[in-house]
Symmetry: C2
Subunit: 416 residues, 2 copies
Amino acid sequence: MSILVMKFGGTSVATLDRIQRAAKRVAVEVARGHQVIVIVSAMSGKTNELVGWVNETSPLYDAREYDAVVSSGENVTAGLMALRLQEMEVPARSWQGWQVPLKTNSAHSSARIEEIPTDNIMERFAQGMQVAVVAGFQGVSPEGRITTLGRGGSDTTAVAFAAAFGAVRCDIYTDVDGVYTTDPRICEKARKLDRIAFEEMLELASLGAKVLQTRSVELAMRYKVKLRVLSSFEEQSDEAGTLVVGEEDIMESNVVAGVAYSRDEAKMTLISVADRPGIAAAIFGPLAEAGVNVDMIVQNISEEGRTDMTFSCPIDQVARAEKAMQDAKERGEIRFHDTVADKGVSKVSVVGIGMRSHAGVAARMFKALSAEGVNIKVITTSEIKISVLIDRKYMELAVQALHDEFDLDKPAAESV
Amino acid sequence: MSILVMKFGGTSVATLDRIQRAAKRVAVEVARGHQVIVIVSAMSGKTNELVGWVNETSPLYDAREYDAVVSSGENVTAGLMALRLQEMEVPARSWQGWQVPLKTNSAHSSARIEEIPTDNIMERFAQGMQVAVVAGFQGVSPEGRITTLGRGGSDTTAVAFAAAFGAVRCDIYTDVDGVYTTDPRICEKARKLDRIAFEEMLELASLGAKVLQTRSVELAMRYKVKLRVLSSFEEQSDEAGTLVVGEEDIMESNVVAGVAYSRDEAKMTLISVADRPGIAAAIFGPLAEAGVNVDMIVQNISEEGRTDMTFSCPIDQVARAEKAMQDAKERGEIRFHDTVADKGVSKVSVVGIGMRSHAGVAARMFKALSAEGVNIKVITTSEIKISVLIDRKYMELAVQALHDEFDLDKPAAESV
């Protein structure tokens, strides 16, 4: 029998009714002869509630306890989904991360998967179990503590299971019917893509397009997992959703495939840093150790041996970034005058493999933003993407302007 | 160093503020030189919410999935309590049942504790950890599935830890400041007892007094665990609360020590059962196997070889009781005309070791109820208690009438 992985995100299991609807989709695939591994997220809002409690209790929390608390939401959904399938006469049981076991390293709250032994679940499949409902987002460390894979980690769980079990496909059920040129909630001209390249999806995901988590796309690309994104709220045909495929399978493409954004960014500046060789390592080493996900980095022109160093990170990591910098200062590893955090910025990016063969994309982007009066604070570029940090109040405006500028409402063939 | 067990119930950890208040109590005991094992319940209301979801998803649920779902509430509290203690500079970590591991049998949703190995936690104490925060109510089966100990199982967890670790005392923090002659919420004359005998506490607990779970008192009595019930909402002296002690330590006692009630009972009657030797076993065997906690049993006078068999059980077990009876009927093990369930009854009981040496308590009880027009549906008695099943609408009235009848608002010495 072939194994299919189906992943249901938080909005797809937000209520008991939605869990039932998702269970029906699973039952359809079981009836088609699949053995199904279902990966579930926490009910929508639950993880945020738990994270809020942790932050309120301890702003600089012990990540091991964070993981123990926030992983509980997925356990609830997994049990309820198994019960619902049993009610439909589909043999199912729930699995928590430590029961599989999904083995990770000890990097709490952003752990990496190290191994998924298949024997426990395969044994139950051999005994007639048709569905394994797995709590997403969580695993167990070598020390026997609960770990989590970072926000959105259930996508990564799903792809990792698909790779480990040699699944025929990994279907990611979510609240949108596929991957769009940008978020339809803030740009009504957004258009669904039938296909997108792994590389583009990777950039969009890492840039904050919330359809798929970055690591899940990396993992799918590396293990050649056939990945499909589709809606849990619509009747599905076999052609539904968006297929994420290799670049060679994309016939036509726009120069820019999509516009992504990340709303809750913070810009942090170290004022008047003593500039010397190795200073970047002395700054970003402690930040990495403190678990701060530094994204964009800008070093201003040095004057008289001192410089300002600016970087961006998620808003909720500002407190620990400041602590890491003050600690490093007290240890004498770096010298600086002060830290300034701007929590009011967002990141907007354009992405497309077509940028490799088309010049002038950056100029068009900056011009379009300028025409709307949007001031650019930080710029970074790569081979297939350009990102800018701007004031948060301009975020929606910027996304819409760039979507227009690159004609993303029209399919590729017409826009050539 | 001496080990102290402190248990905080759902209302004592209902909010982040209350978790903080509980953590302060723990810090006081740490400052006194104790190594502390804290047992926590789920935040008030959480377990009920989870149980509701399970029942709605699957009325005849798979108890293994029930356990996987409902145990999640305690994990949240344990992590938050550990974080709060860390914020107070008290070295603490959380332990889920499978991490200790608290080993139980496989009787899901009402599992028995089989063993609590102390080495993992003692190793951490030896390394300087001062507090182990343990998620109550849960354990792990020989098959590696999560089990729960039944409602109120966190008390049992606490006493079992106190016994396993040779704790100097087991303090049960709750929303009342001790054990009362009856529930102060329904009888304003209720009076706090300074001491109560294990035997009386056992009857009160098994009869629905929600201060302590039956099994926790049994366990405390068997292992001679010094047990104290006290409020988490008041400043505490060393004399606070109620001590649960051996009968020999009680100098004076009223004939009746307390009045207990259990609100959500159901009365189920099998109509016209074919009466034959072994019929009781044929009925109550399948009920036990189905996990129905049968409480009171009455067999009506037999006419022409047929009889009505009545028993009581918790309301939420009526569905499975009916199914167990229909299944047994279909298998030809028992014959009856029909089942009738009355979900509108409550149980009210009077308890006291003084009843052993005083006659006429039953007569006083029935007379007092009769004077209030309360109809008695089922009666059971034991050496130190008398219980009656009555219509739920009379429950509060009955409790108050019995409290008055036996002068429970007056201390023992005065009432002699």
